[in-house]
């Protein structure tokens, strides 16, 4: 059947033809449309429409004159004549107040709305299976109607109910999704969904976040060319109830009670569960779905990512708690399918692992029903020698919690970049350094000297070895020597140093065998619009999602791919801490009100306080240096991450030692926090922001806090720090002669068993260090 020409395409609009046609062929539809027309006219402020509606309603009751609304007798059935009269009157009235074109447009939209009734019914009815819903979506697609042609209310109800069925019940999420995920998108999606035959599951948190971001970006790209071409890799989704099907099929129901066992037992039995899962079987239906997916994904590497119901919701990020597994996807179809199923089984088993169970217990989510969806996604990258890897990958955050300069605002954001697969950027790796940049301050670099740029650069790279068929970590040097110019994006990422110490981006004259290259990312950061795009992307997504986000991305050197998007999340002790009110003055050790990041140090047992005045009065270089040595010695003996270091100005000062204690990272590596005290009334440049070892602090989770006592509301309790007994001589008798400068406060001994809690809240830009009984501070 060829579609009718649009109303304004014809030489004339004649609604009467349409109405006559409907009267003959679909009287109930004509009735529904007449009702909508009257409503439409009422909303448009046509008084006669009100009267008509009222008259019709009274006719319906069969009583002339007023009647009480709460009558107990049944309504009279309407006579067909009255209904026919009502229809005629409605359209006659419409013809008198609306243009012919407008009437035809309304008729067309409402007829289309009416035709989508089956889809609304299918998606609203919670007993419909995903397979039935998919059929309904197919039927909708065949109708050739775009959801923008529907009336707003119908469009909304469809988008919302589909988002609820496929993605999540989260209202916050649905609010964003209904503005950008269209009904047609769900039609496309169902071709990439693998589900059990009677599935009523969802795609899970991670998948939903990524889909939402993908469509937000798609709608924005049309308006903002600066975002460029941002894509999402080809992805298949196994629904969350796939795991239930798997468990039932293999009679593994005894795993359901795992979460209530003592955590030690969970930990002990987990390896066994993993093996049991890996030796179980998938249903033929699921295998068929996976096989189709593999055919479409081809033989490039894929990643199997968890996407559980609880994952990536606001406040419960489950970062790194569930598995993500890379597959080289090599060999015969049977081998590739076997490896894929093995990986999915392992992701399923991770639901019963000790880490997520502990995480859920801590957040009171143990009793909440959890299901595990899976994303099967092609890995972004290209082949370089025998390896497969993206040029670069990383994570980006709307909120920058690691500011290394007072010029960086929290909403300038942060990106962490690595060469190769993004696994090394997602987690802190301790012995390696991703490149950090603030998209809102694209010109500022943490590392400015050649030494810093080399030391704090990525030294390792995660790749997929296509010969061995495994995911592996290589020294970057080794990879660069082996693949040289074939490294994707080499010219954007790598630099060599000439004999004078001047960095040069690698170019045609680079000889990988002779010249060591370092990943500085300078080309990417300063010669491409990358940071501007990231800034735009973060701003766009956080605005549409309604809060700060974190993203994972990768690039094959040409195109930027979005891999994950979720509300910005925090670890147990990294989130904004509740702040106490009305703490008695004598229990406060210090408060800060500038450049505060988030977090909580709940159990500090020792404070090492380098008295700024006594330090400044030291007469010679040798004594100034010896303070740094004493701090290094304390770092070796005090309990790891349970002491904080407080001292004047710039810790690790390399120039004028008087500005701060001369230490290297090795001298402070065990502290929980580094506090820099500006001179009283001093300003920002007095403190270093930890720049001398900033990335060491970031990667090892050591907090940094500058104090500006005497400015704003910042306080420093000199009395406590100076009059508490100094334990230096007990801890390190050989350094007792520095007791006037270096004070070691054993908090429990000085306060009768209390600890020091440092509570930091970046939203309030405020931190409080207070003496309190041991235990986590919850704000109560």
């Amino acid at each position: 059947m060829s579609p009718l020409p649009p109303p304004d395409a014809g030489a004339r609009h004649d609604s009467s033809v349409v109405l006559a046609f409907l009267r003959r062929t679909d009287y109930p539809l004509l009735t529904r449309i007449a009702r909508r027309m009257i409503n439409h006219l009422c909303w448009s402020g046509v008084d006669e429409a009100h009267e008509l509606l009222q008259r019709f309603t009274l006719d319906q009751r069969g009583i002339a004159g007023a009647s009480a609304p709460d009558e107990n007798r049944p309504l009279a059935r309407q006579s067909p004549d009255a209904l026919a009269r009502f229809i005629d009157d409605a359209f006659a009235l419409a013809a008198s107040v609306l243009s012919e074109a407008e009437i035809v447009s309304c008729l067309e939209r409402w007829i289309k709305d009416d035709k989508t009734g089956f889809l609304i019914e299918s998606s609203e009815n919670q007993t419909t299976t995903l397979a039935q819903l998919a059929e309904a979506l197919e039927r909708f697609r065949d109708m050739g109607i775009a959801d923008t042609e529907l009336s707003p209310s119908t469009r909304n109800v469809l988008r919302v109910s589909l988002a609820r069925r496929f993605l999540t019940e989260d209202l916050h999420f649905i609010r964003s999704a209904k503005n950008c995920i269209e009904v047609q998108d769900f039609c496309d999606l169902v071709h990439h969904v693998i589900s059990p035959p009677l599935s009523r599951g969802k795609l899970g948190g991670k998948s939903s976040g990524l889909l939402l971001a993908k469509h937000i970006v798609r709608t924005a790209e049309a308006h903002d060319a600066s975002l460029g071409d941002i894509r999402v890799p080809k992805t298949y989704y196994v629904t969350t109830d796939g795991i239930l099907d798997f468990i039932e099929h293999n009679h593994l129901q005894d795993v359901y009670d795992r979460k209530y066992l003592p955590i030690d037992q969970v930990r002990r039995e987990y390896p066994h569960i993993v093996q049991v899962f890996k030796n179980s079987h998938f249903t033929p239906d699921t295998m068929k779905g996976l096989s189709v997916a593999l055919d479409d994904l081809g033989d490039g590497p894929v990643i199997v990512r968890s996407s559980s119901l609880l994952e990536d919701r606001f406040g419960t990020a489950f970062s790194g708690k569930y598995k993500s597994l890379f597959l080289a996807n090599l060999g015969s179809k049977a081998e590739r399918l076997g490896a894929l199923m093995d990986a999915i089984a392992e992701v399923y088993a991770s639901v019963f692992g000790p880490d997520p169970i502990e995480y859920r217990a801590e957040r009171g989510l143990l009793d909440v029903h959890e299901e595990m969806g899976v994303m099967i996604q092609e890995v972004v990258g290209q082949r370089a020698g025998r390896y497969f890897l993206p040029a670069y990958a990383g994570v980006a955050f709307s909120r920058n919690e690691f500011r290394w300069s007072p010029r960086i605002r929290r909403d300038d954001g942060l990106v962490r970049l690595v060469v190769g697969l993004g696994t090394r950027a997602v987690d802190r790796v301790g012995d390696d350094y991703p490149i950090l940049a603030a998209p809102g301050q694209p010109g500022l670099r943490i590392n400015t000297t050649a030494d810093e740029m080399v030391r704090y650069s990525p030294h390792f790279v995660d790749v997929i070895n296509l010969e061995a068929g495994v995911f592996e970590t290589l020294p970057l040097d080794q990879l660069v020597r082996e693949v040289g110019h074939a490294l994707p994006g080499a010219r954007l990422l790598l630099a060599t140093w000439d004999e004078s110490g001047l960095p040069r981006p690698v170019g045609v004259d680079w000889d990988p065998a002779r010249q060591t290259a370092v990943a500085t990312f300078e080309g990417l950061l300063s010669r491409t619009p990358f940071l501007g795009r990231m800034r735009g992307l973060l701003a766009l997504l956080s605005e549409r999602i309604g809060g700060p986000v974190d993203l994972e991305f990768a690039s094959d050197g040409r195109t930027l791919y979005l891999l994950q998007c979720r509300p910005q999340s925090y670890g147990t002790d990294d989130g904004p801490s509740p702040l106490p009110v009305d703490v008695p003055h004598e229990r406060v050790v210090f408060t800060a009100d500038r450049y505060v990041s988030n977090g909580q140090l709940p159990d500090i047992t020792h404070v090492v306080y380098v008295d700024p005045e006594a330090y400044g009065a030291l007469p010679d270089l040798v004594s100034l240096r010896s303070v740094g040595e004493a701090v290094g010695a304390l770092n070796r003996v005090l309990p790891r991450r349970q002491f904080i270091l407080m001292g004047p100005g710039r810790w690790g000062s390399r120039g004028d030692i008087k500005l701060g204690v001369s230490v290297t990272y090795a001298d402070i590596s065990n502290t929980a926090m580094l506090v820099e005290i500006a001179r009283r009334g001093g300003s920002a440049p007095d403190v270093s922001f930890g720049t001398h070892f900033f990335q060491d602090l970031v990667e090892s989770g050591i907090r940094y806090l500058p104090l500006f006592p005497g400015t704003g509301t910042s306080e420093l309790n000199d009395t406590f720090l100076r009059s508490s007994p100094n334990a230096l001589a007990d801890v390190l008798p050989e350094w007792a002669h520095l007791a006037k400068v270096v004070r070691v406060v054993d908090v429990a001994a000085s306060t009768g068993g209390q600890v020091l809690k440092v509570l930091m809240n970046a939203d309030a830009d405020r931190a409080v260090a207070m003496l309190a009984p041991p235990g986590r501070w919850t704000g109560r």
Partner: protein, 428 residues
Amino acid sequence: MSTKPFNAFEMAQAQFDRVADLLDLDRATRELLRVPMREYHFSIPVRMDDGSVKVFRGFRVQHNDARGPAKGGIRFHPHETIDTVRALATWMTWKCAVVDIPLGGGKGGVICDPHHLSMREQEGICRGWVRQMWRNVGPLTDVPAPDVMTTPQHMLWMLDELETIRGEHLPGFITGKPVHMGGSLGRTEATGYGVIFTLREALKVKGIDIRTCTASIQGFGNVSQYAVRKLHELGGKVVCVSSWDQADQTSYAFFKADGIDADALMGIADKFGGIDKAKAKELGYTVLPGADWIAQEVDILIPAALENQISADTVGRVHEKVKVIVEGANGPTTPEADEVIKQRGIFVVPDFLANAGGVTCSYFEQVQSNMNYYWERDEVLSKLDTKMTAAFHSVYEMAERQKFYMRDAAYAIAINRVAQASRDRGWV
């Protein structure tokens, strides 16, 4: 404990006063050399990335240019003080004089922290510095170089600005340039080779055959790596080097009785000279705690890493066999340890003589740039040998003649040369 806080310039003046007494300098010469001849303090307005203008404070101190154009680095430091810059300019005067190169001493800087500035803003500071100072600096007036938190890139911006203002090419204005922009070959080797040239001469005057000598070196960075190679080339043997292990956050010493192989160790070291200890064991090295470099039974110790490594605590560990200490690093020996070394009769080649290979090569760079003709590497290194050898002998002769400790003799000869030049010019 005195309550007077540490001040670098006062320390430099006290050092000068002591040597001035040894040299019996007259009052006018003392007054001239005790303080810098010229100091420039100026403002550098820079348009920041956000459109605002920020004014930075810049300095240049020319301590003394009686022997030639002032020479010294430009530092970017957020808390630079004029006294630190004065002290460093003074030391540059003595350092140039001790190796007898025709340059004076200078130092400069800007109060800023590059960590908080974009590259464009840093370029603005560099060009602004030259706009303020161009009348008072130049290849024949005052020659800067990279220093703390400044890089060759900063220097090239400064060079470009000066050349733009003056309308001519003046590569001799800056040293530490890349080779293709007028830098000198041999720069990488210069300091390490210089250390060994002075060591070779020290052994000669002490009548020790270098081919029978063993050495232990602290550090495995640029200086140490080239020192090891040169010493082996001369027939000596380095049996121990120490290096920092980034992963373990501690240092280790690597010992091999029949001599270490610098090339093999560099093959298993990271970019900072951190040696892979597992691989070193495979190569037959004994891995010891880092501090053990000082306790080796060797003839020669070369501290070539950090300051204050031979201290009151560690000097007792120096083996009785040790005859010579060559200070490759700056300030590796504390005053207390220096006293012990003096008493034990160990011969010391002091830091600002031993590691002057670097500044000597900078001088060569300036000479080559000024004549726009560049020497081959061997020519640079051979001229370096000549300079370092002559410098050593001047200091040694002074020490012998006046019965000065080598460190005092080095200062004495440097200060005496500057005083002499000032007198020759009729200034004092």
